[in-house]
């Protein structure tokens, strides 16, 4: 029987909430740690990351760290078991007693992974919702109510137009590095932004806020689905099947936690260096 054609059961998550998808949102959490306050170099002061927001974000980062730590060991075992399964040429030979035993072990480890995820998700959801709520308040106040459209674009552009060579975060996507490393990188980035320009922070805050909103929805739906997935896998244990969906989930989790290569399309990559314009029109705004 071809593994890919197995109809023993289908992955019970609706496509949008499969773990690789919502786990990608965890990666978005990495654009988080920020200073307590930040100002544009010469522009209006914006306080998108006061202490309270910082604490919420740090807690979200810690929850992601816990998830990473909790899954690391399980993922390593899954890797070994999958390797053994392949090397034993079990694909297409599920009726073989040895292969069935390996498949059951794999399924048990997979269940363990679901348990870890299920155990961490409530805390993750709580911290994500807190971060979402606090950023929402800051965005409404700092960018929505205090700023006009003109001051907003001045903030985004920066008052000193020639100084746009500052490195910016690559947002929205996986960077090919460990989740914890991404947190460290972004902490350094945002901490540096404290003394240079607030415009990156406006973009980062917006990006985090939108991702938190999406992540919150996905986590809630995933929590509802994960019990069903666990039940189905328990039933599946009696048949000893390794499904493509299981492999897909494991691959997705690994790419998030341990940084496998992924297509990466940042919305906010570093801009090219600017040479000051020799001519300044008297009409220029």
């Amino acid at each position: 029987m071809q593994l890919q054609r197995s109809t023993a059961w289908r992955w019970p998550f609706p496509t949008p909430v499969r773990p690789p998808v919502w786990l990608a949102s965890f990666c978005m959490l990495a654009v988080s740690l920020g200073p307590a306050g930040a100002t544009a170099a010469d522009g209006p002061t914006i306080r998108l990351f006061p202490t309270t927001v910082l604490e919420d974000i740090q807690q979200t980062g810690q929850a992601a760290k816990n998830l990473e730590t909790g899954l690391q060991d399980v993922i390593a075992r899954l890797d070994q078991q999958q390797q053994l399964y392949r090397e034993s040429k079990c694909e297409g030979a599920e009726d073989d007693p040895g292969c069935a035993r390996i498949a059951r072990q794999l399924g048990a480890t997979y269940l363990e992974m679901l348990d870890v995820m299920g155990g961490q998700l409530p805390e993750m959801e709580r911290t994500v919702n807190n971060t979402h709520a606090s950023l929402q308040k800051r965005l409404r106040s700092e960018l929505g109510q205090k700023m006009s459209p003109w001051t907003l674009q001045e903030t985004l552009l920066g008052q000193r137009e020639g100084g746009a060579g500052q490195a910016r975060p690559g947002l929205r996507g996986r960077s090919g590095m460990r989740l914890s490393d991404r947190f460290r990188q972004y902490y350094q980035l945002v901490a540096h932004s404290r003394d240079s320009s607030g415009r990156s922070l406006a973009v980062i805050a917006s990006d985090i806020y939108l991702d938190m909103r999406e992540a919150s929805d996905l986590i809630a739906r995933t929590r509802e689905e994960i019990n069903r997935a666990r039940l189905m896998e328990q039933l599946n244990q009696s048949f000893g099947l390794v499904t493509p969906e299981m492999q897909e989930v494991v691959a997705g989790v690994k790419s998030i936690l341990f940084g496998e290569e992924e297509v990466y399309a940042p919305i906010a990559g570093p801009p090219p260096l600017t040479e000051p314009q020799a001519y300044e029109s008297p009409l220029k705004l």
């Binding site: 409404r140 929505g144 406006a202 973009v203 009409l283």
Partner: protein, 187 residues
């Protein structure tokens, strides 16, 4: 010998002649007007601009937008940073002569040659002013970005400037999306 038909005795012929004269007069006027307000033919931006100034001073100010587009097209043939100054000086000249208002001159110059977007202006808060018409604002910015592509990139060879304008557009879209959602929660 046959005499030519007298107009006095041929009211139809008189009417036809009168109509022909009127038409000839109109045609003559049109020809002169077309010549005065013709689009510059030169491929040199300097020469073309001089022609345009003469035409504008000669009563062709109604064709200002056409001239502007024509000069941009000519400048695309020789893109360089100095072209930006050329267009600025033309607009300053035009505003000093009252052909366009100072505000119109500013708006036109910045629409084509500045990184910032004139379609994202206003003194009221984003929650109150920008968010209710966010889609329209973004649509106007997109149109302006196309004009900046012409002004900054194809006329002034300012790749960096256009790149920053494009980036500003993308960041504005993201930030407004988030900010307006946050504003909506308070309503």
């Amino acid at each position: 010998m046959n005499e030519a038909p007298s107009l006095k005795h041929s009211p139809h012929a008189a009417a036809l002649l009168a109509a022909a004269l009127v038409l000839m007069g109109c045609n003559s006027q049109n020809t002169r007007s077309d010549t005065q307000c013709a689009m510059p033919e030169s491929r040199s931006l300097e020469t073309a601009t001089q022609d345009v100034r003469r035409a504008l001073e000669g009563g062709c100010e109604e064709r200002f937008d056409d001239y502007w587009q024509r000069l941009l097209a000519i400048a695309e043939g020789d893109p360089r940073p100095q072209n930006k100054q050329h267009f600025s000086e033309l607009l300053v000249w035009a505003s000093e002569r009252g052909l366009v208002s100072r505000r119109q001159a500013q708006s036109l110059y910045n629409r084509y040659f500045n990184v910032k977007f004139v379609s994202l202006m206003g003194e009221y808060s984003n929650c109150a002013y920008t968010c209710p018409t966010k889609d329209k604002v973004m649509s106007r910015m997109e149109q302006e970005l196309a004009d900046k592509e012409q002004g900054l990139l194809r006329v002034s060879a300012d790749r960096e400037g256009y790149s920053r304008a494009d980036r500003l557009y993308q960041e504005t879209e993201l930030v407004l999306e988030a900010t307006c959602r946050a504003c909506d929660t308070a309503r």
